[in-house]
């Protein structure tokens, strides 16, 4: 009798698995996301290992070999100052990815904090923050980014050269306009959690408001934040490239895919690959971030936590 009951019991209970394992299993099923993840990993590896992979110094000019086509020495030829295009592409991955990650880190964290404060305190705080978020979300992003970067384009930060200042400035500008999405997201989560019992319990245990927000609410909002951060990485890559392409972003000689594309425009018909490749890198990274974000969204679906 006991065995029979145990058997019935076993059939009725779903096997317990660790959350991460379930997420990974779901993510793996999303083929394109997996491909995206592999591509991103490759780009990240290239970016990290740039000094060892790049055949030349990306800043080294060779004025005797300007605008050269592909050769065994320079696989992708050289640019208008005789710098090795392949090496610049590799270093550009470094800059573009770093900008994307730092911007996302800053904007998502700020956004999460602002959203948590907005949702947790409610009342006029929430009202004011939401008005600001609403307004900023309706503002057309690109003209603003262009204006602010153009205004700051002559600024040189202490201890940095002008072109490296431009990298820092572009990070700040992109962060300034990128926090609204995650603020709104986290606010939503916090609002729905605020009424729940564990919040009451935490308060009864004497936790302060800030502690409750940081210890309980933000971890609960982690899954949507991760998804939104991944998707934001893709957007930031494109925005940075657009600004650099138009000449208001990262300034040469620091290589980014955007400003390389700008330089390659002139020779588009004679050496099209010099324009095709940097643009394709932008496209591929952004696409991969989008794929991975989509895969993560499916994998982290809250329905899992049944």
């Amino acid at each position: 009798m006991a065995t029979a009951e145990l058997r019935a019991e076993a059939l009725l209970t779903v096997r317990e698995e660790s959350y991460l394992l379930i997420v990974w299993r779901r993510f793996r099923r999303h083929r394109v996301a997996l491909v995206g993840a592999v591509i991103l990993l490759a780009f990240i590896l290239i970016a990290v290992l740039a000094p060892w992979i790049a055949p030349y110094d990306p800043y080294a000019q060779n004025l005797l070999l300007k605008n050269a086509g592909p050769s065994p020495a320079h696989w992708l030829g050289t640019d208008e100052l005789g710098r090795d295009v392949l090496s610049r592409l590799i270093y550009a991955a470094r800059i573009s990815l770093t900008v994307a990650f730092v911007v996302t880190l800053i904007s998502q964290t700020t956004g999460a904090l602002i959203g948590a404060i907005s949702g947790y305190f409610g009342g006029w705080v929430d009202n004011v923050i939401q008005r600001v978020v609403d307004f900023m979300l309706t503002l057309p992003l690109l003209p603003l980014l262009l204006t602010v970067s153009a205004l700051l384009s002559d600024v040189t930060l202490p201890g940095l050269t002008r072109e490296w200042s431009s990298v820092v400035i572009i990070i700040l500008v992109l962060s300034l306009f990128g926090w609204m999405g995650s603020a709104r997201l986290v606010r939503g989560v916090v609002l729905s959690l605020r009424e729940q019992t564990f919040t009451e319990a935490a308060r009864a245990l004497g936790m302060s408001d800030l502690q409750i927000v940081i210890r309980h609410m933000i971890p609960n909002a982690m899954a949507p934040i991760i998804v939104s951060a991944t998707l934001s990485l893709g957007t930031v890559i494109i925005l940075e490239a657009a600004l650099s392409f138009l000449g208001f972003g990262v300034q040469p000689p620091v290589p980014t895919w955007g400003n390389m594309l700008n330089n390659a425009q002139a020779d588009m018909w004679t050496q099209p690959f010099k324009a095709i490749i940097p643009g394709f890198c932008i496209f591929l990274t952004s696409l991969s971030f989008n794929f991975v974000g989509d895969g993560l969204r499916d994998a982290l679906d809250p329905r899992l936590k049944r």
Partner: protein, 372 residues
């Protein structure tokens, strides 16, 4: 309704006023002030002396405190002597009466500094506006024509081959850098120089400007159509590539909106009721479901109008299309701040009015919503 509109108009005025302050402050508080770039790139001979710069500042009224500059920018300066603030007027205002009656409130954004020095900014904008409206309209129409049917199909046949294709297309569209896509389009459709034209026989399209300046090249689409330079047909053909490039992002986004909105609606009880009533599937989808699915779509589309304007900056720049977007880029390049401020201000107006329009449209498409 009337009450709502009055309250709403008041709110809009406040928002516009605040944005104008923000715009003015940002532009004038930039490190070094608005004239900071004036000597950049100038050689020793053409370099301006501090005395000359002071004269320019007096002429432009930059010697006044920031808040007065802002007020004058907004309201003009003809009223200053009436309230006993004659000292704040510029000399030019005292000499030339028309110089006094300016200000944003009269739709006068001052004169361009660099791009078309001495011309009124507003004239530059009026000249460019029709081109931008044309491009925005054609791109919006193309996006809608592609996105809505794709979105509906994807929702109705979820997980079908075409749905997967549409999903992939949407991913590509969102991830595509507009400027690179534009360059590739130019590369592909630029006729004799393009291998795509030579080998695959893809059409030879105009890749820049709003209309032809010279008779069309043999072999180009313009030549085949026999379009005379400057004719409506000529202008239409010039719109083809910018329209496609500007549309891509919106096609991708809006087909997703339509799909998810439609999927949401198809789950609703009233769709089941419509089927249970004995309606054929076509009527269930195109009447009962679509009508509801359009409610959020209409709002989103309206709110994206200012965004299309901003997307046009990149597209117009790449195709050298003489619209407001290109003007914006040129003004930024040339540090022509009055033009930049005017365009930003107009964008802010556009945002505010798009918001109002969205609210009003919402009440029209959704009987459950009443404005109060």
């Amino acid at each position: 309704m009337i009450n709502y509109l009055i309250r709403r108009l008041f709110q809009m005025m406040v928002v516009i006023l605040l944005s104008s302050m923000a715009i003015y402050a940002i532009m004038n508080l930039a490190p070094g002030g608005p004239l900071s770039g004036i000597n950049l790139g100038a050689d020793r001979k053409s370099r301006l002396s501090p005395e000359e710069i002071r004269r320019i500042e007096e002429f432009l009224g930059l010697h006044r405190p920031l808040h007065w500059r802002y007020i004058v920018w907004l309201l003009g300066e003809d009223w200053l002597d009436e309230v006993g603030l004659k000292s704040l007027q510029r000399t030019s205002c005292r000499e030339i009466p028309t110089e006094c009656t300016r200000g944003v409130i009269r739709f006068d954004f001052g004169d361009s500094w660099r791009l078309a020095a001495g011309q009124k900014v507003i004239d530059l904008i009026w000249f460019r506006l029709p081109n931008t409206l044309l491009l925005m309209t054609s791109a919006t129409l193309l996006s809608l024509l592609v996105a809505i049917p794709i979105g509906i199909y994807s929702a109705v046949r979820q997980y079908s081959l075409l749905d997967y294709a549409a999903t992939t297309f949407a991913f590509f569209g969102t991830a595509m850098p507009v400027f690179w896509f534009g360059l590739m389009m130019i590369f592909i459709f630029s006729g004799p120089r393009s291998p795509w034209h030579q080998v695959l026989g893809l059409p030879y399209l105009p890749t820049g400007n709003n209309y032809s300046l010279r008779p069309p090249q043999p072999g180009s689409l313009l030549y085949v159509l026999g379009a005379t330079p400057g004719s409506p047909l000529d202008r239409a053909v010039h719109l083809i590539l910018p329209t496609i490039v500007l549309s891509l992002l919106y096609m991708a986004g809006w087909s997703r909106y339509t799909r998810s909105s439609m999927l949401e609606v198809l789950r609703q009880d009233y769709v089941r009721t419509a089927r249970a009533k004995g309606l054929v599937e076509r009527v269930v989808i195109m009447k009962h479901a679509l009508r509801n699915a359009l409610i959020p779509i209409v709002t989103i589309l309206t709110l994206e109008i200012p965004g299309i304007f901003s997307g046009a900056v990149l597209t117009e720049t790449i195709f050298n299309y003489k619209g407001m977007g290109r003007l914006y880029y040129d003004a930024l390049q040339a540090d022509d701040w009055p033009v930049v401020m005017a365009l930003l201000f107009i964008t802010a107006l556009l945002v505010v009015f798009a918001n109002l329009l969205a609210d009003i449209l919402y009440t029209i498409v959704d009987p459950r919503i009443r404005l109060e």
